[in-house]
Amino acid sequence: MAKTYDYLFKLLLIGDSGVGKTCILFRFSEDAFNSTFISTIGIDFKIRTIELDGKKIKLQIWDTAGQERFRTITTAYYRGAMGIMLVYDITNEKSFDNIKNWIRNIEENASADVEKMLLGNKCDFPEKRQVSKERGEQLAIEYGIKFMETSAKASINVDEAFFSLARDIKTKTEKKLEASNPPKGGHQLKSYEPSRKQTNWLSKCTIL
């Protein structure tokens, strides 16, 4: 099968419970919003293929699966991640304060050169705002990362944020490719019954 994309980027969403990570993911991948997502099951990752400078980029965006709730995100979650969206809720001071803990968590677990971006979500809710835009900007500057305020509900800046992160990763990847070190890697398990491939979706276990 011909490859239908030029790059595959694994992105993560990180931040406190309830800041709207899953909603951002749905807004970006399906252009949908539903405030009851939290209780739905089976959200592992979502995929959207975008185009940047004529290159097809497949974005595989992973949700925390609720494991952020008691800070029990598996170290495996961070493996191979190239970009991380750090999300807080502008109506929740605590979620903003916790960003520094999440940054520490990322430093401990993710690869050192992972691209990061800070998002202040729920900006459609100005009357309940607890964190000013300036503080968000200030924190982003401190960590040397980009910042945007978003609203998954009102569809503000969600696409822009992912495109911006994807662009930064693309630039970095292409720079690395020029320096030409062929990537190492293991293989993914494939079903060893190729005859079932057409009919049985089971054999689709290698989505990558």
Binding site: G42, T49, D159, K184, Y192, C205
Partner: protein, 509 residues
């Protein structure tokens, strides 16, 4: 922080070992409400994979059981019901005789410039230098391999947990024989192309390999060896050296392995060749704990709640049925409890068999002429065998240029003495760090209420076959009507994933 844990579940799982984690994913997929707890801050208990810092901390905490029993009365206030409380134990009881030491200098003075990182003579390493890259280490407490066609691989694919983990071949299958390390010709093509085997021996080896591969219960060929050892059979058909190759490396047996058992094990090894390259084994990048974390993630995706660093102090029993778990001053209730043997209350826990284990950090491969990656070396001695697993930099378990060596077997001191050097002998890999301990298996000895399901800790086998069997057995007790990892309905692909949807691409551009 944990006060907002809901108080009732279908299944509470205590401990994030391999069996517990597989059960967690399996039952969550059927829609059951799962709470998964672990007293440690990391996943995996005695199956964990740790960075060097965490590993050193784990070693320092050593065998000290920090558990202080509170007495049953301290739980009485949790419920009005007439409950009997059994206090849980500490997994540290599974470890004894733990020693560790660094065999290099603490630090190298700044003045000396060391531009040539690649130089392999161990003198340039210091403890500080290695600790500085602590995160590049992923050291397994219980490393195990996957048979390419074994039950673990089957379940990974069936469950789709395989998408969370990447693998490498175990690309050097080795044996220590006649005071040297030799590559074992595994497949018939290996035998055929081997330069170290002469034509006559090639024919004999081919014949034996073919007989083993075509073995069925009725094979007349092996019947005369029914009450004899596998070694008897091999020696009758092969020169001693090749008999040892097959006995130790292919059948992972020893002198006492009965013939039929040896044949079955060898057949399994041979039947796993060719699926993922010319090796029957796979090794997960970043270590074994990636597998159990993959199962835990899947449980979480199916709404399982995870809470590490959370102890269950006691298990509450009402009459002859398990009722709930006392944790942090609240009573968490569930229909079933799945619990690691290592945490079982003393009334139900006994000590089983034990084995010696060692973990080394070295500066050179035991088999430098082999391919970089994962090496499996069998080290037979007169009365037993040690299994040695060596990981190099491309496994993501150790920084480039260094090696992690995992040794299991009661004769490991002899293997260490012959294969490694503590300094001085440059021809052998130098031990920079070593840790040794005895691992005891805990067993469930008492009669547990039938809605408590106990899970074994790491055993001494190289594969995960027993763990999968046990997880399925427990799953069947909790969900008797359900298929173990029944396939999920296909998820509708989002339109943006369609490769040829031009309007999507233009919209995004």
């Amino acid at each position: 922080m944990s006060d907002d844990l809901p108080s009732t579940y279908d299944v509470i799982i205590l401990g994030t070992g391999m069996v517990e984690s597989i059960v967690a994913a399996a039952v969550a997929r059927t829609g059951k409400k799962v709470l998964h707890l672990d007293p440690n801050t990391y996943y995996g208990q005695l199956w964990a994979t740790l960075s060097l810092d965490s590993f050193e901390l784990w070693a320092k905490t050593g065998t000290s059981n920090t558990k202080t029993l509170k007495g049953e009365d301290s739980f009485k206030s949790l419920s009005d019901k007439a409950l009997k409380y059994y206090e849980t134990q500490d997994e540290r009881d599974c470890i004894s005789d733990l020693t560790f030491n660094w065999n290099i200098v603490e630090d190298i003075p700044e003045s000396e410039e060391e531009p040539k990182e690649e130089n392999a003579s161990g003198n340039e390493y210091s403890i500080k230098k290695i600790r500085d890259v602590s995160r590049k280490f992923n050291i397994d407490l219980a490393p195990k391999l996957l048979f390419a066609k074994g039950p673990m691989v089957e379940i990974l694919i069936k469950s789709q947990v395989s998408k969370y983990v990447e693998f490498l071949n175990v690309n050097n299958i080795l044996i220590y024989i006649d005071d040297a390390i030799e590559r074992v010709p595994c497949s018939k093509s290996d035998v055929f192309s081997s330069k170290s085997v002469n034509v006559v021996d090639k024919r004999l080896l081919m014949k034996v390999l073919t007989s083993i591969q075509s073995y069925t219960e009725e094979s007349p060929f092996f019947q005369e060896y029914e009450n004899k050892t596998f070694l008897d059979y091999l020696k009758a058909n092969l020169p001693e050296k090749f008999a040892n190759f097959i006995l130790y490396s292919i059948a992972a047996g020893d002198q006492n392995t009965p013939c039929l058992e040896g044949v079955q094990k060898a057949k399994k090894f041979l039947s796993c060749l060719g699926y993922y390259g010319n090796s029957p084994f796979l090794w997960p990048l970043y270590g074994s704990s990636e597998l159990l974390q993959g199962f835990c993630r899947q449980c979480a995706v199916f709404s399982g709640i995870y809470c590490l660093n959370r102890e269950v102090e006691a298990i509450a029993v009402e009459g002859d049925k398990y009722y709930g778990c006392a944790s942090n001053g609240i009573l968490l209730q569930s229909e079933h409890l799945v619990v690691s043997n290592s945490l079982l209350p003393q009334q139900f826990r006994g000590t089983g068999p034990s084995v010696k284990r060692a973990v080394l950090i070295t500066d050179k491969s035991i088999f430098p002429e082999g391919k970089e990656g994962v090496s499996l070396l069998q080290y037979p001695t007169d009365d037993s065998a040690a299994t040695i697993l060596e990981l190099s930099g491309n496994t993501c378990s150790v920084p480039k240029g260094l090696f992690i060596v995992q040794i299991v077997g009661n004769c490991l001191e002899e293997a260490i003495k012959n294969l490694f050097s503590e300094g001085g002998d440059d021809s052998k890999p130098k031990i920079l760090y070593s840790l040794r301990f005895t691992l005891h298996q805990m067993e469930c000895t008492g009669k547990l209420p039938e809605n408590i399901h106990a899970c074994p800790g790491p055993d001494f086998a190289t594969d995960f076959d027993a763990e999968i069997r046990k997880a399925e057995e427990i799953f069947k007790k909790i969900c008797p009507e359900e298929e173990f990892f029944a396939p999920l309905p296909p998820e509708p692909e989002p339109p943006s994933d369609e490769p040829d949807s031009p309007e999507e691409a233009t919209n995004d551009a």
